[in-house]
Symmetry: C2
Subunit: 338 residues, 2 copies
């Protein structure tokens, strides 16, 4: 591996040749946010030449990746995610960490807007030199978005970001995806009148390593304290996590800048725990292997369904109508036509 | 459709010709448990001629299937599943229901023994003329066992069984499979000292429609009542189920024959609810379509992995070592060799 200083020099030399892989790689490795941003745009592009360059960049960055805390963060709209991320983000950059904020937002395609929108959503963080905010890609399937996000993580890590926050909305399948690419999962909620989970899909609770009640200030304080107690008691009835970590409950007021330090301490405790018990390493290994097999299956499926779409739709109807069992349907599908 | 009486007559005529599909079908439709049992043996056989006959039988039984309550039941060993099923089973046959007990036991292959073992485990139920107990198939992958169980359900329903209990151990992936083929899911537990969930895997709690504390008698009574209150309160923090059903908590003593009637009433309430809100119908449709797509994917995967096993293993290692991204690995896999 070459030094950062050398990368900066290489980068200067290569500056003029765009679409040159080394130009991007040395830019990224020297920590240049503009080049990182351009490389991410290549990853998000559907043009074949962009994809080819992107894949070469990723491959060269791969050996420099892996050294970050990968943190997922979810919560329904209105819970105060942006405010939390801004406060939390500014706090940890003061601790000399370099933060990258990404988003997975499967709904953005329909709404034509990203949940991260423009950077005005996190005004001070977006001008923080140790932070990098990247709005959600606005096109592609959930699987495609996931693949790209995983690749973007590699580039951000290669660019020296040691904390990656991946944000999503707590209403769909995107949490499972985010969970499959992070080490730590934060769930943001507002303490309410007994119905805290409205809008939070089943299964998300069980993913959470830290449940954070936001807006725990003013009139909300008492309710929040009560919710904390209730959740701590309820979490007791949840089965133990593979990481051996018992999910924690935190109260935070971004407004009054209260509780942020505790969340950071919890995060550090968590990472110490999973480093020591090897969960971090083993989990990432598992995530990678799973990602490989998913990619294989996606490719197999895409190729097959493209050719057989009409036949499969007909067989769906026949199985629903109890004319065929799926077993016989599939036998027919493969024997007749392939 | 022909009448049951006619089926009995057809069956008598065909009695001598084994491996004749109509022999089995008329036997099953006339409610003959011996023939049903033999047909299930064909489903479980790995011989091609048996499979062919089995598939023909299933196809002919398919139009007569679907009219049962499909109930999943799980709990760790020692929770008292057999005793509960025996008591519950005898109770509902008195209500003129016909009960079929099946099992999914992925561990049985290793242990060379089925969780249902021989029928002595449910002595009175096994001699009950309105009950049919089928031990778990002892070979095959989890996917294979699942497929066979789904097919066995079809035959049992065609044989006039209106209540199907599918039993499994609460420790593995088999619950998810069972959940994908039933309408209602019971989770059996014993009230303990705060650690009720030991051994119950994450996610199983969220599947449960009815949590049943067994052995709620004698010295256990107080603890059980407390557990009921605690769980009812904890379930409040679980997200709402798609069926719109709020999971219930029951106390049962099979020994003292207490609480069984309440469980049955809960079951009836549940089925009334999901019939009225169409969840029963929609969920089964979804289960069938999912089953079809799973079968397609299983076939695609099996064919592909058989040919590419070694290459894939090598690529696994390369992605773990950060030499390749899964995307590039799969690209190489498909471009070079196919």
């Amino acid at each position: 591996m070459i030094s950062k200083k050398q990368n900066i020099e290489n980068f200067k030399k290569l500056k003029k040749q765009e679409y040159n892989t080394d130009y991007y790689v040395s830019g990224i490795l020297s920590g240049n946010k503009t080049i990182l941003s351009k490389a991410i745009t290549l990853i998000e592009s559907n043009l074949e030449k962009h994809q080819n360059t992107a894949q070469q960049i990723i491959e060269k960055c791969l050996p420099y990746s892996g050294n970050s805390m990968r943190i997922g963060i979810t919560g329904i709209p209105g819970v105060g995610k942006s405010t939390f991320i801004e406060t939390f983000g500014n706090y940890i950059t003061q601790k000399n960490r370099r933060l990258c904020v990404l988003a997975i937002d499967p709904s953005s395609e329909q709404s034509k807007g990203s949940i991260l929108g423009d950077k005005t959503r996190m005004e001070t963080l977006s001008t923080n030199k140790n932070a990098f905010i990247r709005p959600s890609p606005t096109s592609g399937t959930l699987g495609g978005v996931a693949r790209r996000t995983r690749e973007i993580i590699i580039l951000c890590e290669a660019a020296g970001f040691d904390t990656i926050l991946i944000e999503t909305v707590g209403v769909g399948q995107s949490e499972t995806l985010v969970n499959s690419m992070v080490d730590f999962f934060m769930l943001l909620m507002i303490a309410g009148a007994g119905d805290e989970l409205q809008g939070i899909k089943r299964g998300i609770m069980e993913m959470a390593d830290n449940i954070i009640f936001t807006k725990a200030d003013g009139n909300n304080m008492l309710k929040s304290k009560l919710a904390k107690t209730q959740f701590e008691s309820a979490l007791h009835y949840f089965p133990k996590k593979e990481s051996n970590w018992t999910p924690t409950v935190s109260l935070v007021s971004a407004l009054e800048n209260v509780g942020i330090e505790e969340v950071w301490q919890t995060t550090e405790n968590y990472f110490n725990t999973i480093k020591n018990n090897n969960f971090l390493k083993n989990n990432r290994k598992e995530q990678t292997v799973k990602w490989l097999h998913e990619t294989i299956m996606d490719k197999l499926k895409a190729d097959f369904y493209k050719n057989k779409f009409d036949e499969i739709k007909k067989l769906e109807q026949k199985t629903i109508n109890s004319e065929l069992t799926p077993y016989i349907a599939v036998k027919q599908l493969f024997e007749q036509k392939i």
